[in-house]
């Protein structure tokens, strides 16, 4: 652990507390509020430190708890066991992060399980909750009945808990076993009994509550009272003990009081600390009372007064009701109705599900309805889209109580570019630092010195040993610091990525003009619909996509869309429809561009490819549909004879494919003859970073896009009949001995590329290459390695010379390993 870093120390300490609070709360009957806040704090802390794995899982779990808090999900056994599984996983992730600086991703199955809970899908049948006993298990049934029998005796004879704990272990109920062990070993027996009783209540929720133990809470309540003015952590522990003891007695009111204190004591941040300070006297007197009762009413945060902005927006008659709604934790939303006669009819079902109407204002053609809702914004947006898909009736939905937007600044684009360039430089420096720190030579040197130590005289050996110790400590510290640096860089990466995003609309807005010009020139009627205009895309991608999108529009009008009379003749509307959809998926941006035109005719494509000399007759006969579509993207392919003023000459769909590849993505085509064509561009979120496989040829490293590498094999594993070429031959470098073959996927089939050496997989930060060089065949771009060395990214599809070499380099000519090539 990092002893010197307050941030990590705080993270280590607080996450442990939150996880403990969650575990005890989930195993027992912890207040949902407490659980939610603990999970929320956990999420916040992991975000602050850049631990995305923990953050992702905590976020999902928080969703579930949020629903439970809103009363929309019962925190029954399935939910609890899923959440406990999440807590267990979070503990593991936390340890990995603290001890190894590893940000582990949570298991997808667990995320899915939590996601299903949040969406209200039944899960019990799909994944058996691991921590719950199944009634069919005879061992567990025995345990259950013995526990019920012997529980009352445990108070007087705690030694018996040992045997029960063993039995629990045999039934693989570790949590229960640990709790039973606690009864015999824990100094605070009543609390241990209380934790056990809570767990049993959870295990058998439908049965009679377990035996209530006898006793008094006086001592524990007194302890909490004494702890009230002290440090919050100590107070939290005392309150937990009181809550557990209250549970042992079955005193729910007392437990609630203890949980309230525990909640405020264990939550981080200013607000709970302040609340605790305000309520300290009330808690003290409640704890001194003969009957412990929670401070239910007093604990609610004071109703926030209407903000001046909101008060001005809302009609005065609604002020009181709006304030009450806000006091109850709901938000005020403003729904603007469009000037449609049906608007109100459309709004009604939406309002019924979304919230409560608090009032209305404005003229009838733009009526504002104010409603109070507890639903999160995304859910409201989804409901709105469902109620009014066209957006004509419910024209706007915005938070009426939203704080004024954060002040924005206009920054010149080149300033942002400079920041981005610096970030890239910093990242390259950090990468090379990481490479330097983990360099194998340093480890080897340590081993050499350690070996030397054994052969030195004792006095010298001792001095060497202490020197080595200090060196190791220093290099360990450097490694940990580097780990922190890379986490911080990850955060910086994200922040910078946000700096350079722009909405898709700014890319799409150029299209209608081009469409109109193109369509008018050809006397075609075409409309374009763009969806996903709000999707944020990286500027590096936007720069790459600007021209290809224009080209797709022109291409659709030129080749896809039929003249109006032809459309009418086949029963289509005279006006053709283009649809461009941008969709942000996890880690990817998918653009799909479709038309409802004539579709792609394979025979026309094949005939054109043959007349252009792109393929031979025998090959043409063997091609699959996908391979035929791939022909469309070949440079020099154009299915139109007449050169027209819009599509111009010599520019084909290859620009689209070229752009997709430069961005590290791919383009594919779907088409149905007579019904239309769809181009799908599947792109990474940024064009600036690409995962690659490094290979070596002629002593220099080259990078192949990792997504295109099918496999790396040894020369003798080359499949029969697979043509082989060497990277050196392709790049016109002097031949060298090859040690491995990289199988690269290409539209035209696999390319077997023999290389001198296969290096590691890494992320390559791509840089703009000089325009004069960007078009060089086989070059996909240039990137910077960790050591700052530029490396060329190869573009497999445009690697030249393969057509000629595919036949001439046969597998038999491949040199066997160990033999050298002249």
């Amino acid at each position: 652990m990092e002893a010197d870093d307050p941030l990590w120390q705080e993270f280590a300490a607080e996450t442990a507390e939150h996880l403990d609070a969650l575990e005890t709360g989930l195993a027992g009957d912890g207040a949902v509020d407490v659980l939610f806040r603990a999970m929320h704090s956990l999420k916040g802390m992991s975000a602050a430190i850049g631990a995305h794995g923990i953050g992702t899982l905590a976020h999902k779990a928080e969703d579930v708890l949020g629903l439970a808090r809103a009363g929309r999900l019962a925190l029954g056994p399935p939910a609890r066991s899923a959440l406990l599984a999440a807590v267990d996983c979070l503990r593991g992730q936390r340890v990995a992060l603290l001890e190894h600086r590893q940000d582990q991703a949570p298991p997808p199955a667990l995320l899915a399980r939590l996601g299903a809970l949040a969406e209200g899908r039944p899960m019990a049948a799909e994944i058996p909750p691991p921590s719950l006993p199944t009634r069919e298990d005879p061992l567990r049934a025995t345990l259950a009945s013995r526990l019920a029998d012997e529980l009352p005796d445990l108070q007087a004879a705690p030694g018996r808990a040992h045997r029960l704990a063993d039995l629990a272990r045999e039934s693989q109920m570790w949590r229960l076993a640990a709790l039973l062990d606690g009864v015999s070993t824990d100094a605070d027996r009543p609390a241990a009994l209380g934790r056990l009783r809570r767990a049993l209540k959870l295990l058998h929720p439908k049965e009679q509550p377990p035996h209530r133990f006898a006793g008094s809470l006086h001592q524990e309540a007194q302890a909490v009272r004494m702890a009230l003015p002290g440090p919050r952590a100590a107070l939290g522990r005392a309150a937990e003990i009181l809550a557990a003891c209250a549970d042992a007695l079955g005193d729910e009111q007392a437990e609630l009081l203890a949980r309230q204190i525990q909640d405020l004591a264990m939550r981080t941040g200013e607000e709970p600390a302040q609340r605790l300070a305000e309520l300290r006297d009330d808690f003290a007197s409640a704890l001194a009372a003969p009957q412990l009762m929670p401070l239910v009413e007093r604990l609610r945060p004071a109703p926030p007064p209407l903000t001046p902005g909101l008060a001005a927006t809302l009609p005065p008659s609604t002020h009181a009701r709006a304030a009450a709604a806000m006091a109850a934790g709901r938000r005020i939303w403003r729904l603007r109705l469009g000037p449609l006669p049906t608007a109100e009819a459309i709004a009604e079902p939406f309002l019924a599900r979304a919230g409560e109407v608090r009032g209305g204002a404005g003229p009838p053609e733009a009526l504002d309805i104010f409603m109070a809702s507890e639903l999160p914004p995304e859910e409201l947006a989804a409901l709105r889209a469902e109620a009014d898909p066209d957006g004509g009736a419910l024209t706007d939905l915005s938070a009426a109580d939203a704080p004024p937007p954060a002040p924005t600044m206009r920054v010149r684009q080149d300033r942002i570019d400079a920041v981005i360039a610096l970030e890239a430089e910093l990242r390259a420096a950090a990468l090379s630092l990481g490479d330097a720190i983990t360099a194998p030579q340093a480890r080897a040197a340590f081993e050499d010195l350690a070996a030397l130590q054994a052969r030195l005289p004792a006095a010298a050996a001792a001095r060497l040993a202490s020197g080595l110790e200090r060196l190791r400590a220093a290099s360990g510290a450097a490694e940990r610091a580097q780990g922190r640096l890379s986490i911080a860089l990850g955060q910086l990466d994200e922040a910078v990525l946000e700096l350079r995003v722009m909405p898709f609309s700014s890319l799409a807005m150029r299209l209608p003009r081009v469409l109109r010009a193109t369509a008018e020139a050809q006397n075609k009627q075409v409309t374009l619909e763009v969806r996903g205009e709000e999707v944020q895309i990286d500027r590096s991608l936007a720069d790459l996509l600007a021209d290809p999108l224009l080209h797709l529009v022109r291409n659709a009008v030129d080749h896809g869309i039929e003249p109006a009379e032809e459309r009418i003749a086949v029963g289509k509307p005279a006006t053709a429809r283009l649809l461009l959809v941008a969709e942000r998926l996890p880690g990817r941006l998918v653009l799909s561009f479709s038309d409802d035109g004539r579709g792609i005719d394979d025979t026309v494509v094949l005939a054109r490819a043959r007349s252009r000399g792109l393929i031979s007759a025998e090959i043409a006969a063997r091609l699959s549909r996908e391979e035929i579509y791939a022909l469309l993207f070949l440079p020099g392919f154009s299915t139109r004879d007449a050169i027209n003023e819009t599509s111009g000459r010599g520019v084909g769909l290859d620009v689209v494919q070229d752009a997709a590849r430069r961005a590290g993505g791919a383009v594919r085509v779907e088409s149905t003859l007579g019904q239309g064509t769809r181009f799908i561009l599947d792109l990474p979120l940024t064009a600036a970073m690409q995962p690659v496989l490094l290979v070596e040829a002629g002593g220099q490293p080259y990078a192949l896009p990792a997504g295109r590498v099918e496999a790396v094999i040894r020369p003798e594993q080359l499949p029969q009949g697979q043509a082989l070429t060497t990277l050196e031959a392709v790049l016109h470098l002097p031949l060298a001995e090859s040690s491995a073959i990289v199988l690269v996927r290409r539209p035209a089939g696999l390319l077997a590329l023999a290389v001198e050496r296969v290096g590691r997989r890494t992320d390559l930060l791509l840089k703009p290459l000089h325009p004069a060089l960007a078009g060089t065949a086989g070059v996909g771009g240039v990137g910077v390695l960790g050591n700052g060395e530029p490396v060329l990214l190869l573009e497999p599809d445009s690697l030249p010379g393969e057509a000629a070499s595919a036949g001439s380099f046969q597998a038999s000519r491949f040199p066997a390993e160990g033999t050298s090539r002249p």
Binding site: L769, H770, T776, P790, P800
Partner: protein, 162 residues
């Protein structure tokens, strides 16, 4: 790569109101034994031996790319650009980083010399005896003692086959 109406470097206007003194300062280089010079105002950096990543299949005068503090710089070997014989194995090249049209280039020279002030009025047109390899890229010559200094036309040198 893409035609972009507003390249990020558009704002980088030529330095305004350059005094004639600065404009006549030249950095001298030696290429294959010939003394030559480039305007100091275009020079951004002078670097020693650099790791240069070759770009196979690129025009021969392009020696490759190098990483100048995070920016990728195209390296142009003056020897191959001028059609002169390649450096002897083991002979190192110096990088003179120049900026032209918002792009950075590294000119590989055999040696980098000093900065001289060369006034335009002292410049002579290319003599008949100048090696034809140099003529295409020479703006004129200056006499330096018993040596002839060729003033290089940087724009012409960097007009790579686009």
């Amino acid at each position: 790569m893409q035609t972009n109406s507003a390249t990020p470097t558009d704002h980088r206007a030529p330095p305004p109101a350059v005094n004639s003194e600065a404009a006549s300062m030249m950095l001298t280089l030696t290429v294959a034994g010939q003394l030559c010079a480039v305007p100091v105002l275009a020079v951004r950096d002078v670097l020693g031996v650099q790791v240069i990543t070759r770009i196979p299949l690129a025009p021969p005068e392009v020696a490759g790319s190098l990483n100048l503090r995070g920016r990728i710089v195209t390296a142009v070997d003056l020897r191959s650009r001028l059609g002169l014989p390649a450096r002897e194995p083991g002979q190192v090249a110096m990088s003179v980083v120049v900026e032209v049209g918002g792009e950075l280039y590294s000119l590989l020279a055999d040696q980098v010399g000093e900065v001289l002030t060369l006034h335009a009025e002292d410049r002579a047109p290319n003599p008949q005896t100048l090696d034809p390899a140099w003529k295409e890229f020479a703006l004129g010559v200056h006499r330096q003692g018993d040596q002839l200094l060729v003033l290089l036309d940087v724009d012409q040198l960097l007009a790579l086959g686009v």
